[in-house]
């Protein structure tokens, strides 16, 4: 009896210590992330910082009607809808290649990770000298006799940005897929072979099915990283790029320059609502999938 009481007291004491260990991080989260975020949501619903008149969702509606916001939304959606699937397909394919490699596995894996850590500012010059008016790409086109183009100012520029995105992000996706592939038990393939399944059947009925959870993680990571492409684009084009690469990040950045707290908060609210719904979709469908297959 006595012992249990003492143990319970001790447990309580220990929980208290744990809260103490968590406290700094929790306070930091509150002060620097959560409270200011709620403050920004408040700013999004007033008309200006002087009168503090409550206008409800008017700022959000205005933001949606803003032409440059629409352009930014369109470009960002295009970039994510093309870039992320491409990234997944490429990294999955290379992971399949790498799976068959027996020597120097780790060496290659590390090499493909290097673009991830190289700062955007250092390689931006290389992209510029390839794609600029007098860059390597135009030189090749000229030597072959094809018409040249000012790529960085044309409607193709988003394609170039996708190439840069792929260069940077294939590595991490590939490593994820690679570890995922190695976790699929070899016996599944052996069974399929005994039962006469072809290479295509193995791909669709075993590999793609069991790689699905990894695919989810890779897709999520890829979407998150797709927002980081702003670094490259900013260093290439500055604050006011051509309309073809004007992304949501530029829109927000220009609101920072204008120091417009209302528009800023409204667009932050819209983007975070988007991210949260993507997250819920991912977690929901992942749970459904794992129920389906277990």
């Amino acid at each position: 009896m006595n012992v249990t009481i003492r143990r319970r007291n001790k447990k309580k004491y220990r929980e208290w210590v744990l809260w103490l260990l968590l406290l700094p991080s929790l306070m930091g989260m509150l002060i620097f992330y959560l409270l200011p975020f709620f403050l920004s949501m408040y700013y999004a619903m007033i008309d200006n910082v002087v009168s503090h008149r409550f206008v409800g969702l008017q700022n959000f509606i205005d933001t949606f009607h803003n032409l440059s916001f629409q352009q930014a939304l369109k470009n960002t959606a295009f970039f994510i809808l093309v870039g992320v699937p491409l990234n997944l397909i490429c990294s999955f394919t290379i992971a399949n290649l790498l799976k068959k490699v027996t020597k120097l596995k780790v060496f290659f894996g590390l090499i493909f990770l290097i673009p991830m850590i190289i700062p955007a500012g250092a390689v931006v010059f290389v992209w510029k000298s390839i794609f600029d008016v007098n860059g390597i790409l135009n030189w090749v086109l000229y030597s072959v006799g094809l018409p040249m183009k000012n790529w960085l100012e044309s409607e193709w520029v988003l394609g170039i940005v996708i190439i840069i995105f792929l260069w940077k992000n294939i590595g991490i996706g590939m490593i994820l897929f690679w570890t995922g592939l190695n976790r699929i038990p070899k016996t599944y393939y052996e069974m399929a072979r005994v039962e006469g399944g072809g290479a295509m059947g193995q791909l669709f009925h075993i590999t793609l099915v069991y790689i699905m959870p990894t695919g989810f993680v890779a897709a999520l990571l890829s979407i998150i990283n797709s927002f980081k492409i702003f670094k490259e684009i900013f260093l290439l084009f500055g604050n006011y790029p051509s309309e073809w690469v004007y992304l949501l990040q530029h829109y927000m950045n220009n609101q920072f320059l204008a120091a417009n707290a209302q528009k800023l908060s409204a667009s932050a609210g819209i983007i975070s609502a988007f991210i949260v719904s993507v997250l819920f979709f991912f977690f929901h469908s992942q749970r459904k999938l794992s129920e389906h297959f277990s």
Binding site: R14, V17, L18, L21, L22, P24, S25, L26, G28, M29, F32, Y33, P36, L39, L97, V101, V106, I111, F112, L113, I114, M116, I117, I118, P119, A120, G121, A122, V123, V124, F125, V126, S129, I130, D132, V133, N134, G135, I136, N138, W139, N150, S154, W167, I175, L176, T179, L220, I224, F227, K228, F230, L235, Q249, N253, F256, L264, I271, S272, I275
Partner: protein, 298 residues
């Protein structure tokens, strides 16, 4: 049969090698071109863009006299360390940019570790009913794009008039990434071990310091690397908060050097990537360990 197999694996290695080469190409280019003389760099890479703005044509005539293509080369005409010499002994303003990056990154990395290690441990050991919900908030914040998180930081910095560096460093220290990464690692830690220590009367602090921390070395190393890489490459926050050109970190100043002082660019870029590459190489074993682990957990 055997012959076909070796042929196939040969092709496979050629493919992988080619991919690795393409991946490394920009970095190799930086390294070799940093050994060029300043004049060679300018003559190779000068981009006379003004004329095209005047012409404003979609298709450019390459016959124009003032037009010349970039002559990218992997080997300099002759090798010289002059650009490095100039960088280290002749241009303190560029060294200062490097130093700006250092004093921005190091406090964030150190603070992040100090805050995250106990918090991750507490998250794993707490028996509070709603802790997973709290953790989910951490995950959501972690996955937000920088621009979205910048809004709260910006409003806060405006309200209490934080100096620019602090406005970047403080939120960076409390970024939820570290707590997430370290907790994922702790989930795989044998809990019997911790409970045994607890039964023997060890306090949480002792367990954390003597049992958990030594075993978390790989994930802390990876956390250090990821955080450092992230803030060494800082762009978004810096262009919002830092107004004074002298205070800019290397990450954004480098693109200005690219435009205004092209000859110095390659040497500076190489100098700039040295710390992160060294860190990456130092952590490479931990990274491969950790990556296979994250895969398992998810």
């Amino acid at each position: 049969m055997i012959k076909r197999k070796t042929w196939q694996s040969g092709l496979l290695y050629v493919c992988i090698m080619a991919l690795a080469l393409v991946t490394l190409l920009p970095i190799v280019l930086l390294l070799t071109n940093s050994l060029m003389s300043g004049r060679e760099i300018v003559s190779r890479y000068s981009m006379d863009i003004t004329i095209f703005n005047v012409l404003n044509t979609e298709y450019i005539k390459a016959g124009d006299e003032s037009f010349h293509f970039v002559e990218m080369a992997f080997l300099p005409d002759y090798i010289t360390f002059h650009q490095y010499f100039k960088l280290f002994f002749n241009s303190p303003e560029y060294l200062r940019l490097f130093w700006n990056s250092v004093i921005l990154c190091v406090p964030i990395v150190v603070g992040q570790c100090i805050i995250s290690v106990p918090a991750a441990y507490a998250f794993e050991r707490l028996q509070w009913k709603y802790k997973e919900y709290l953790f989910f908030i951490y995950i959501i914040v972690m996955l937000m794009p920088t621009q979205v998180l910048l809004v709260p930081h910006y409003l806060l910095a405006e309200m209490v008039t934080l100096p620019p560096y602090l406005a970047i460093i403080l939120p960076g220290i409390f970024s939820p990434l570290g707590v997430f990464l370290l907790r994922q690692q702790l989930k795989g830690f044998p809990h019997e071990c911790l409970e045994a220590a607890q039964v023997d009367g060890a306090a949480h602090g002792t367990i954390l310091y003597h049992i958990v921390l030594p075993n978390m070395k790989p994930s802390v190393a990876v956390l250090v690397m990821i955080t450092f890489a992230d803030y060494w490459n800082i762009v978004d926050q810096a262009i919002v908060f830092i107004k004074n050109a002298f205070d800019e970190p290397m990450s954004i100043a480098l693109s200005k050097v690219m435009q205004n002082d092209t000859s110095m660019f390659f040497a500076m870029a190489c100098f700039y990537i040295v710390p992160i590459v060294v860190l990456f190489m130092a952590c490479r074993d931990y990274i491969s360990q950790e990556l296979s682990f994250v895969g398992v957990k998810n």
